[in-house]
Symmetry: C2
Subunit: 494 residues, 2 copies
């Protein structure tokens, strides 16, 4: 893979000085159009051998283009904030929105490669990272991102020469540390691991581009020209998403589904409710104050039919928690900023730190519920959402998050009763709108979407809890009880 | 994932008998149209719990449809033939061509799941299998296949009941073996591993469909209807491939590439050639008769410019080998049968058994060379070919194949000299055509394609050997020597 980057590529000074002004102008033009269209983001990854000019290239791109629409991220050691979230969180928060360019100096490749080179991880762990990276980049390209992955390469001799040259010059001596020489000893291993990783992640949609790093003018002009070409190509020929040949999801032919099977007549007396409420709220409070909880976090997701009682149930939980460590995220239509990002971005941003609780009032499941039923997004988008959601939840659980997902089910009749009640009671009237009545007409479509959702995302690591919510007392206690059980189980596991 | 398949779905006899005739007719219609269009193959995977009706469903589909256009494959223990090839070979050879339906009873999922359940493999090995499966299925859908993955599920109680029922009836008693009861003990583990695997392989393009297996009528009608819907949908709305937003591959800005760097003046005297030819042919002969060679196989790939001397070099190799164990595969335009399959199919079919040698005179690299340059396929197809090729070669090498890839390079001037020589010598005239002259005009495009090919597919496990072939003697000896070295190195590694 590195043959072409060990040939001693060079560009002479005259050519460089002749080409650069034209290139800069064209890049600025393209960047302007990119920002105007605001239809796709450009994600540039900079990786490779130390001393191959990675940093200089980042600075140069910044200097050549309009810095207002470009953002460089130096991804060094993760911060405390970052360490308490899944490893990909820091990259999600740094993704450029549509119309902008994000440069990642050090990326999702850095740690997997480095840990393997230093012997801190096994080859099977590298495989898992590669798998996760491929899923992540597929999601990005499915979401229209333009990804450019540059790998700056130096042969072993060239790297040695480069480090020595830097060391000799008093002005650059500080840039060469003992660590650099330590790393140099690992050159062969680094090359082997990188080659393997590049090979396994060079896909049709996001191929690696290997650039020889020795000559400043060659590497700068190469990166600049490829970047220009790539952006221009996308601006002039917008990507066209596939219309995939998927098998349509269908309702069970006997019309029997998980919702039908619920025993909706389950009830709790007021008296029993009040006793149990106190009991489980107390328990939940103790559990979240347990030292064991500091190493984990809790995410509770609430989905349900309109008027199923999500709000009331959530209030019974928050009443048991320390408000400083608990956040409620109501999910409504995405903001402008959120619309400029991949679908899952607006949920990643709300992942709690360790020891914290986040409650989602509606969630990422909107894509496979309302967006599917109302046809807000095409079938291929909500079909791929199931696996994107499973990937997301797997990363949460890997990071010691207790993830509890509730579907609050009420019957058609009970919903009607509640709608009417809301209309007749003054302080509840704001809770019922035309839209609620419209949604109600699509009851069957919603039920279908709920069952598909449960089938495809109720997994061993993040099961759905279906809550029979015709009786609010019963529902609230079932929810509190489930939360306590799930936290206890996680604590036992360790 | 299995919630909906534990509800006790049932279809009564009347409904069934009323629906089946209509369904069969519609299926036959769809099947007929599928065969007429011959635009995509249908691949049906049947997996799941023992006793959940997998076999019956396969038989039923066969009975309902036209058996001439449907082929069922029972994938049990691999044969000797199959064990000597990479694990995926047996599935490649059984893929249905466009216009046909292939049913896999037991599939690429069976062994990875079973080995994990029985503790014969580690969870990291399962991850690797899952990764490979996802790449394979992505390739299939990229190649327009319609994939339907059915998972037949039974709850633990239902499976027990089912096995007991079968045992009680003298007519079906033979179907329940001790192994079945042994397997039943592993139900929980099987469920866990399956759920994990299904979750990780349920993609937007090829989602799993879980079917409750208890009721014969329910499961049969469900599978039949989904199959019908899926085929109809594809017939009526052909899949539209994505026009992906890839960064265009570009020539190095200083025009320097791996081919330029070759020292094309290297020569060998006739006398030295004859001595070395004898020496290395003898060595190669001994190596391929070594007992160590029986556990491996050799694949040599020859690519090169027109008139670069591939044929002559190949003859010098075969002269050293036992003709019974050596095959030469000349790759020209694909046959009709090959065109009805994914691109890589026609190379998979020629993978040698252990102890054998296969020489490809041109190869799978045609896609990124002639097909790219002559625009026989769209950019997205040859762009994804690089990673499909790397996947393929990785599987060969994993299976102890020594894979040696030669690019025979001659200069523009030398080609002209040879072309002219060919035209003037009677018995060589057939070797030169109009097309050769036309190709020659695209010399630069081909050189570009060759360099990209080397950059993207010369890997640590399957490197390219560039052969300076202006002097035929030099070229032939370099080739023989390289073959010997690579076999020796593989033997040392064991």
């Amino acid at each position: 893979m590195f043959e072409s980057a060990e040939l001693g590529h060079r560009i002479d000074k005259d050519t460089y000085e002749n080409e650069v002004p034209k290139l800069r102008e064209a890049l600025l033009d393209a960047q302007f159009e990119l920002a105007q269209q605001a239809k796709f983001p450009v994600i540039i990854l900079i990786g490779g051998v130390d001393g191959a000019g990675k940093g200089e290239t980042v600075n140069l791109l910044n200097a050549w283009m309009d810095p207002r629409h470009i953002e460089a991220h130096a991804m060094g050691e993760p911060s405390d904030e970052e360490r308490e979230r899944p490893p990909m969180w820091r990259f999600w928060r740094a993704l450029p929105p549509k119309g902008k360019i994000g440069i990642f100096f050090g990326s999702w490749y850095t740690l997997p490669i480095l840990n393997r080179v230093l012997g801190k991880s096994k080859s099977s762990e590298l495989s898992q990272s590669i798998d996760r990276i491929n899923r992540f980049e597929k999601m990005l390209t499915d979401e229209d991102a333009l990804i450019l992955k540059f790998w700056f390469h130096l042969s072993k001799d060239a790297q040695k020469k480069r480090l020595k040259t830097l060391e000799k010059d008093p002005k650059t001596r500080w840039r060469v540390t003992d660590t650099d020489w330590e790393r140099f000893k690992l050159y062969d291993e680094f090359r082997k691991v990188s080659e393997h990783t590049l090979r396994e992640t060079s896909t049709g949609e996001a191929p690696w581009i290997v650039v020889e790093g020795e000559d400043f003018r060659y590497r700068s002009l190469t990166v600049g020209k490829i970047l220009l070409e790539a952006i221009r190509k996308r601006l002039d020929h917008p990507a066209r998403p596939a219309q995939p040949n998927i098998a349509p999801l269908q309702a069970p032919i006997d019309q029997l589904d998980v919702i039908d099977k619920l025993n909706m007549s389950q009830k709790l007396s007021r008296k029993k409710y009040e006793t149990e409420l106190e009991q489980y709220q107390g328990k939940l409070n103790l559990l979240t104050r347990d030292p064991g909880f500091h190493k984990m976090s809790l995410i509770a997701v609430f989905e349900g039919s309109d008027a199923a009682g999500k709000g009331g149930a959530i209030r019974r939980i928050t009443a048991a928690l320390d408000a400083r460590y608990c956040r409620i995220i109501p999910i409504a239509a995405p903001t402008e900023e959120e619309r400029a990002q991949p679908y899952m971005w607006r949920f990643w941003r709300h992942i709690p730190r360790s020891g914290r609780v986040t409650i989602f009032d509606r969630s990422w499941y909107g894509r496979v519920l309302v967006e599917r039923v109302e046809k807000f997004c095409p079938e291929e988008d909500w079909m791929r959402a199931y696996s994107e959601i499973n990937d997301f939840e797997e990363q949460l659980v890997d990071n010691n998050t207790v993830l509890v997902k509730f579907w609050l089910a009420i019957t058609r009749e009970e919903q009607l009763r509640r709608f009417k009640e809301r209309e007749s009671i003054g302080f509840k009237r704001f809770k019922i709108t035309e839209e609620d009545w419209r949604n109600r007409e699509k009851w069957d479509d919603y039920e279908r979407a709920v069952c598909d959702m449960v089938d495809r995302t109720s997994t061993e690591i993040a099961p759905w809890t279906l809550v029979e919510a015709n009786d609010k007392y019963f529902a609230r206690i079932k929810i509190l009880k489930t939360l306590c059980q799930r936290i206890e189980a996680a604590m036992k596991k360790g």
